[in-house]
Symmetry: C2
Subunit: 150 residues, 2 copies
């Protein structure tokens, strides 16, 4: 099925989803956040076919999520490093993680946890808030049209 | 390509992505958050083929994201209402929206904005925080294995 491009959509959610392409992109970002740098790291961790992984990494470089750098230890192969734009997906990943933990685990616990690197303590829950920082429930929020010029 | 099921994965991100299936699920949730209830609402807004939309809604009901209720005005067709589990995707959507606004809009503004319903004011930015509420940058956070029993 040919996918409609949403890259010019006025809705930022649609644009984000268009840019991210499919779930593999976020799973590749997850591995990068866990320290994967080389093609073979990603391939081993994700078990993704080489041609698909290759095309996906190429697209992610083109979209500015990864930049390629020479391997630190030398060697012929470049490494893939997340750009700032790629790193900022951490918040999206954290939101997906929290939703999964809250809704898709029954009894058991997830095997990993997001921690503050400096202290090793689990991070706080993500929370919708008002402009001035009051916590808001998900049903206290709605989508409004932006008034031009505001 | 046959997709590997990640529904039993220990990683909550993988489980979430498996449950959400593909981007259409989140775009359907977006329309529901904007007030769509009837099959024809979703179909009109998303321009998705009827058979694909129908299969997707059925799956979303099976996964507990939507519940079907009789239409308020009567009539033969049921309406689709987000469950609490579905509503909690609001936070994931807010994270995707914020990432899109920060990274995929150049100059222009997105056409819509998330507001606190009661005040009509834009909500605050989502922010990673420590356990005790200090703001954390995306590079101050890492993934750790959970120690069983902790």
């Amino acid at each position: 099925m040919k996918r409609t491009s949403l890259s010019g959509a006025p809705c930022p959610i649609a644009r984000s989803l268009d840019e991210l392409g499919d779930w593999w992109t976020l799973l590749i970002v997850r591995e990068a956040l866990r320290g994967a740098r080389r093609f073979s790291d990603f391939q081993k961790k994700l078990g993704l076919a080489r041609n698909i992984l290759s095309a996906r990494l190429k697209q992610m470089v083109a979209n500015g999520l990864f930049e390629q750098r020479p391997a630190i230890e030398g060697g012929a192969r470049a490494e893939y490093h997340l750009t700032d734009k790629g790193m900022r997906l951490r918040l999206v990943m954290a939101a997906l993680r929290q939703w999964g933990e809250d809704n898709l685990f029954e009894g058991e616990q997830s095997s990993t946890v997001l921690v503050e690197t400096a202290t090793g303590r689990p991070i706080g829950r993500l929370q919708l808030t008002s402009e001035d920082g009051r916590p808001l429930r998900v049903d206290e929020v709605s989508i409004a049209s932006r008034i031009p010029g505001e």
